[in-house]
């Protein structure tokens, strides 16, 4: 079998194991193949569930995902510990190279694993800083320091208030305390008691050049609070500038100010939007009124024009008449034809034609004896209307057949199969 034939069943996921293995080997070896077609059918198959009535899973499923991921993380931690305890430590694989943030997270979880399932709320105030990426960039460096135990020493204890305090001694940064809540987070992958990095420094730490050298930075995986022990002032490692709580406070106020400005801006946008839609509504109303008036004018002009033409025909010599009707009794369409044998002027008064499909027009035909000749093409209107046409004098005689058919808008040289109305001159 040609391998291309497998792509349909492969896309739908119904290949047998043997065929599947053959097909995958083609893909993995980058052999010449109809890859674009395969991609199209894979997308097509993936669209199938989109038409189902979407159902939301229970909220606890999300918690289950979080728990499972933490069990997984624990396994990695244990594996790492086993490797460290071996006589000759093996180099860690990249994915196993846990940052101190991960290490602390797992360690904390071990401490509180018994209460993981208890639904309690997290207490720690969230502080995030704008240089999260820098955390990651320094995490590997910090991890090395952590792993070697050369610079850090972490002591854990749990207070009565439910907070775990991890004292971190560091030769460069001095002594810090990492406070961890034992109350559960509503966040997805944080366990309730996960260590929350908490910086008191709401100021822009990105401006502090020496921050990148702060090994504890890697510990602040978003939500852990780090504060210098017993110090009302927060001193940057390395003896940089000192920031007090009072200096931090105005920042909070500025957030409130920003919030007010944003709310005012949103209010302004809302008012403008309401005004805009009101004006647009008025414009639409006027447009509708104009359209109605225009239609009435056109109707009046048609009527007057039709009446004038009818007067001319009726006052000429050799007046002929035809009543066109449908063979289908369910069709209410109707047309009357007035013809002047003297001038060749014809007038069609038509009503109740069905609406046309997008690319069609109505066409009036007259029988020349051997074939049909087109008189005029027009679009349907929902009200009775009048159309004028000229007819060759030799065709204006009793018994001449007239048809109204639906044709494609590009035109036709003879009547199509879709005859709407027909009749003969009398």
């Amino acid at each position: 079998m040609e391998h291309k034939e497998l792509l349909y069943a492969f896309s739908l996921g119904c290949l047998s194991k043997n065929d599947f293995d053959i097909f995958v080997s083609i893909l993995e070896n980058n052999e010449p193949f109809a890859y674009e077609e395969l991609g199209e059918f894979q997308n097509l198959a993936a669209l199938l569930p989109a038409i189902l009535n979407i159902e939301t899973p229970a909220p606890e499923v999300k918690d289950k995902v979080a728990r499972k991921l933490y069990r997984l993380q624990e396994e990695i931690k244990k594996k790492k510990e086993e490797e460290q305890s071996s006589e000759k430590p093996l180099p860690l694989k990249p994915q196993e190279h846990l940052s101190p943030a991960h290490a602390i997270s797992v360690q904390t979880q071990e401490d509180i694993s018994s209460v993981f399932d208890e639904k309690v709320d997290e207490e720690i105030v969230e502080v995030r800083h704008s240089k999260a990426e820098e955390f990651e960039s320094v995490s590997a460096q910090a991890a090395d320091l952590h792993d070697s135990n050369e610079k850090e020493e972490i002591n854990n204890k749990t207070d009565d208030d439910g907070l775990e305090r991890h004292k971190i001694s560091d030769t460069e940064t001095g002594e810090f305390e990492v406070i961890t809540s034992t109350k559960q987070s509503k966040e997805f992958l944080r366990p309730p008691q996960e260590t929350q990095v908490r910086e008191r420094l709401r100021t822009d730490l990105s401006k502090e050049k020496t921050f990148e050298n702060f090994p504890g930075a890697a510990l602040t995986d978003n939500d852990v609070e780090i504060k210098k022990k017993n110090e009302p002032l927060i001193e940057k490692p390395g003896g940089g500038k000192i920031i007090t709580e009072a200096q931090i406070e105005p920042k909070k106020k500025s957030y409130f100010g920003t919030l007010v400005v944003v709310l005012l801006f949103l209010l302004l946008i809302t008012v403008v939007a309401i005004a805009y839609f009101k004006i647009m509504e008025d414009i639409d109303g006027y447009k509708l009124e104009i359209t109605n008036l225009t239609n009435r004018i056109n109707e009046f002009q048609t009527k007057v024009g039709g009446d004038e033409a009818l007067d001319r025909i009726m006052n000429s010599r050799g007046v002929y008449f035809a009543q066109l009707s449908s063979a289908d009794f369910n069709v209410a369409s109707d047309a009357k034809v007035f013809l002047s044998g003297e001038s060749g002027e014809a007038l069609f008064r038509i009503s109740n034609l069905p609406p046309l499909s997008g690319k069609s027009v109505y066409n009036i035909w007259i029988n020349t004896g051997s074939t049909f000749e087109s008189l005029v093409s027009f679009n349907a209107e929902d009200k009775p209307f009048t159309i004028g046409a000229s007819v060759r004098a030799d065709l204006i005689k009793p018994g001449t057949e007239i048809k109204i058919t639906e044709e494609i808008s590009s035109g036709a040289d003879r009547p199509g199969w879709k005859i709407i109305l027909q009749g003969a001159l009398r």
Binding site: Y8, G13, E36, F41, N43, P49, L52, A58, E187, R190
Partner: protein
Amino acid sequence: MVNIPSTDIDLLRRVAKHDSKALEVLYNRYSPLLYTLIKKMVTEQSLAQEILVDVFVIVWRKSDKFNFNSENVYTWIVTLARNKAADEIRRKRFAGNAPEYTEGFEDNYILPHLSPKIDSLDLKTALNIKGSVETALNKLTDAQQYVIYLAYYEGLTEEEIAAKLNIPLQTVKSKVKIALSNLKENLIKGDA
């Protein structure tokens, strides 16, 4: 405040770097669709929930195996969920004779093997054109729709479909091909 990128591909990149917040956003975005798909396949609610959990654990562990050049997280994650649910169905069906679920098995039979030349597709687009897909599907014959249903939702292989319907294997292969080709053609015509 760290801004979490909102595109699927950015989220998956962050998941590959073990950003749990990104996985949460991805979960919030995709769990309803995936849960609906899985439940449609396995019918049992608790099993569907378990499989959904497994799917996101796989996403967490194996997102680095995604071809980030393709930028089609939608098809990858939907196919992953479908494969996982189909595997569960087959394991129940084989009752003990199923192959052992190992890392290698997961990499080969559960993780999707997407074409390197696949167009990008996202959840929003998929949901926007669901009406067209439904119309295109409804235009297929009952037999074609049934074959697609058996293959995609019941996780049957072509051989199993042939046995179930008591028709030659070659007929099933032909029907699968025609059904998908017509579905594609109907979808293109519908969009035109």
